[in-house]
């Protein structure tokens, strides 16, 4: 299958790894081509005096991001984070220990920005900005999925994700970018989604899915595109339009919207929830990408903006959209930019809203009916996505992001089991493919990084009969679809959360409803009419 070994399952629960220095030093992703770089406003290739430029950029970031400054100063090398990273657990490479990863950058920070590093570099492990250091950055800052697991266990909340983002931003600015992220961002900024799927093709695809639902339910369920005056604008990862099991999740949202009787639309201009600019730490690109959504919301005149199943996209939406684009509430009265949009959006509901919040709310109000028995052959477990778990929220209380998706799943399945508490909720393990690592040239680190999640899954599969893994993120789904077979799990055990919803939902007037009502329904006039069709 590949020229590396899938890691063996360790004794469960895992014992600390013995270090294997440079175990994954050979891994680094393809470098961005000049045109990918230039589209995003970065130099096409490594600039001449890049050492100096890199240090300057670091200084610039230090003056703009308090977090970076505090994190670089505060680490006491206590070691609490050292065994917390899934990439470390899967590779045993010491540079994949979060603090060691930070030190790759901290050593340079100390050399150029601190008294101790300027005058006593050896003493404090300070290093000059050299080619060797740059290559090490390129390798190991692309072995971090920015999952923030390490930050949970750090006494100062030091977030290695922030350090990785800064490192990637510096590398982009000296002309050394990552192909996968930067190429995709180029497509997103020109066509409107990561796939480069143009509007007409999208429209045709959506129509097809509508027909599929109609065949199944007998109801004219539509997936509308570019409808002016719709109430809800749904922003969902473009993987929902073509990948499995993402599509089934998309059809689940469509059914929920239809059943709720709301008017909604997708946008061809903003047909992407993903915003990889976060992965490369680029504020300006992140804003530019998010502004497509703002523009679509203004253009279509919607009252609400909603987000489909995606982890980092939900982080950007929940935590950053208000800052970046004004999609949210509570802007200063003099803040014309944000007010323009916030006056249009419905202030009585959270903006933006996650699709799970929407579905959960309908369930709570008793507006959705489920036939749980259709999912009876499933024993379901749920994978908390890192960005949802540790960088966002759902509902109105802290931790709602753990409760709401589980409540939604339990409403449509009778058998739900959680994985080991050390591996879920705020301690959840990354799928192994987040943070811009979801590319074939990084397959080895993706498979190895999935180890802790796969171990926890194996535990419940063997001991509790779990046969279904529900995910809530486009990246997790794509990653698991590739990685499950390496660990001898069947690929079809993976489902979208709203796939479970869609399967169990009994829509008013649908074939499923008739079946459920059994013989009584046969006497209903619509049923007879349907039969004659």
């Amino acid at each position: 299958m590949a020229d590396f070994q899938t890691p063996e399952f360790r004794e469960y629960p895992a014992v600390p790894n013995v270090l294997v220095p440079d175990a994954t030093a050979h891994l680094s992703p393809f470098v961005a081509k000049p045109n990918h770089q230039e589209q995003l406003g970065f130099p096409g290739e490594l600039v001449d005096n890049w050492e100096e430029k890199a240090v300057d950029k670091m200084g610039d970031l230090l003056s703009k991001y308090r977090g970076l400054r505090v994190y670089l100063d505060s680490c006491v090398k206590c070691g609490s984070c050292t065994d917390k990273c899934h990439y470390f657990q899967g590779t045993s490479d010491p540079k994949n220990m979060p603090v060691a990863r930070q030190d790759l950058l901290r050593s340079v920070y100390r050399r150029y920005f601190t008294f101790a590093g300027k005058y006593f570099p050896k003493l404090v492990g300070a290093r000059d900005m050299t080619r060797e250091v740059l290559d090490e950055w390129y390798s190991y800052f692309h072995q971090c999925s920015q999952c923030r697991r390490c930050s949970v266990f750090c006494p100062y909340g030091i977030d290695t994700a922030e350090i990785s983002m800064a490192a990637r931003e510096i590398m982009d600015h000296v002309g050394l970018g990552q192909k996968y992220c930067n190429e995709i961002l180029g497509k997103l900024q020109t066509v409107g989604n990561n796939l480069g799927l143009p509007g007409p093709a999208l429209a045709a695809t959506l129509e097809e899915y509508g027909e599929e639902i109609e065949d199944d339910t007998g109801l004219p369920v539509k997936l509308p595109l570019d409808i002016k005056g719709a109430d809800i604008l749904l922003i969902t990862p473009s993987a929902d339009f073509f990948a499995e099991p993402h599509i089934d999740g998309l059809m689940g949202y469509a059914k929920v919207f239809h059943e709720a009787g709301v008017s909604w639309t997708l946008s061809s201009h903003a047909s992407e929830a993903a915003n990889f600019s976060m992965f490369i730490g680029s504020y300006s690109n992140m804003k530019k990408v998010a502004e497509r959504i703002r523009d679509a919301a203004l253009e279509l005149g919607v009252k609400r903006v909603m987000v489909g199943e995606c982890g980092h996209a939900w982080r950007v939406a929940y935590s950053f959209w208000n800052t970046l684009t004004g999609i949210g509430a509570g802007a200063d009265p003099n803040d014309e930019y944000a007010q323009k949009l916030q006056k249009q959006l419905d202030p009585s509901v959270p903006q933006p809203m996650h699709i799970c919040e929407f579905t959960h709310d309908l369930i709570q109000k008793g507006k959705l009916r489920f036939d749980k028995s259709v999912n009876d052959e499933r024993v379901v477990t749920f994978h908390d996505s890192c960005n949802v778990a540790r960088a966002s929220r759902m509902g109105d209380m802290p931790g709602g992001q753990f409760i709401i998706p589980r409540e939604v799943i339990k409403a449509c399945c009778n058998n739900f089991v959680d994985m080991d508490p050390e591996t879920i909720q705020e301690k959840t393990y990354c799928c192994g493919g987040g943070g811009g690592l979801l590319t074939d040239d990084l397959m080895e680190i993706r498979v190895k990084g999935a180890l802790p999640r796969m171990e926890a899954l194996k535990d419940v599969a063997d001991n509790r009969g779990v046969n279904t893994l529900a995910a809530i993120c486009a990246i997790c789904k794509a990653q698991f679809a590739k990685v499950l077979p390496y660990y001898d799990f069947p690929m079809h055990m993976l489902v979208s959360t709203h796939q479970l919803v869609g399967e169990a939902l009994v829509m008013t007037g649908s074939e499923q409803e008739k079946e459920l009502l059994g013989e009584d329904a046969d006497e209903a006039p619509e049923a007879k009419a349907a039969e004659q069709d």
Binding site: P16, S74, V124, R148, F153, P155, T323, D332
Partner: protein, 240 residues
């Protein structure tokens, strides 16, 4: 010698206050443009104060991360806090509270050294922590152990004339240069020297974690990005 020490402490005090003041100002004035609390996070200011209090007083996250590091780290810090309070007697009149605290200060001193030795031991024995250790990390431990051990020695082995020390620092504080006289006791001299060194390196080293923790956006931000638009000045420019 006494005058030299007095000068040393003036210099150390100025450097400590100026250095830490500079860093705090720097942290304070650097914007945090995005909302990045590690969630689940409190949704109110009060909640954040409570979270920070648990972090600073109980080392909550460290407890989640590693029980041994927590135990030794906690012993050291609690011990240090008690010792610092005990030492207040050199700088002010001893009231009932200080009198009450005195014996705890001694236990604190022992806990402090024991905790430090525990941390140091792990730094040497545990492979992962050894890997991330720089020479400076050993030196800071050595410095702190040196301070603790020399302090304990003066209590249990070689009593020094603490009344004379108190008078020295009272005069030092009131800038009374004529009457500066420290007992010429080598252990005391070492103790004070190491303390001065610690004060000087404080703002230049990882000891900055003490003010740093209060400025960590992953811990001190309120989780309310949907309710309120959070905007840094440099980021607001991009709206135009």
């Amino acid at each position: 010698m006494s005058v030299l020490y007095a000068l040393l402490f003036y210099v150390a005090t100025v450097l400590l206050i100026a250095g830490v003041g500079f860093k705090i100002r720097q942290y304070w004035t650097t914007p945090a443009p995005l909302k990045i609390p590690t969630t689940p996070a409190p949704t109110t200011r009060g909640g954040v104060v409570f979270r920070m209090a648990r972090e600073v007083l109980l080392f909550e996250s460290l407890f989640k991360g590693n029980k041994w590091i927590w135990l030794f780290g906690y012993m050291f810090h609690i011990g240090l806090a008690l010792v610092l309070v005990r030492h207040a007697r050199y700088f002010m009149d001893v009231g009932p509270v200080l009198t009450f605290i005195q014996p705890f200060g001694i236990y604190g001193g022992m806990a402090m050294v024991a905790g430090l030795l525990g941390l140091w031991g792990r730094r040497i024995v545990v492979e992962r922590i050894r890997y991330i250790t720089n020479p400076s990390d050993h030196l800071i431990l050595a410095l702190l152990v040196g301070i603790g051990a020399s302090g304990l020695m003066m209590k249990f082995v070689e009593h020094t004339d603490i009344v004379a020390v108190k008078i020295f620092f009272q005069n030092w504080m009131t800038l009374n240069f004529g009457a500066l006289a420290l007992p010429s006791d080598p252990v005391l001299m070492l103790h004070l020297l190491l303390v001065a060194v610690l004060m000087i390196i404080f703002p230049l080293s990882k000891l900055l974690h003490a003010p740093g923790v209060f400025f960590s956006p992953s811990r001190n931000q309120v989780d309310n990005p949907r309710e309120k638009r959070h905007l840094a000045a440099w980021a607001a420019e991009l709206d135009k």
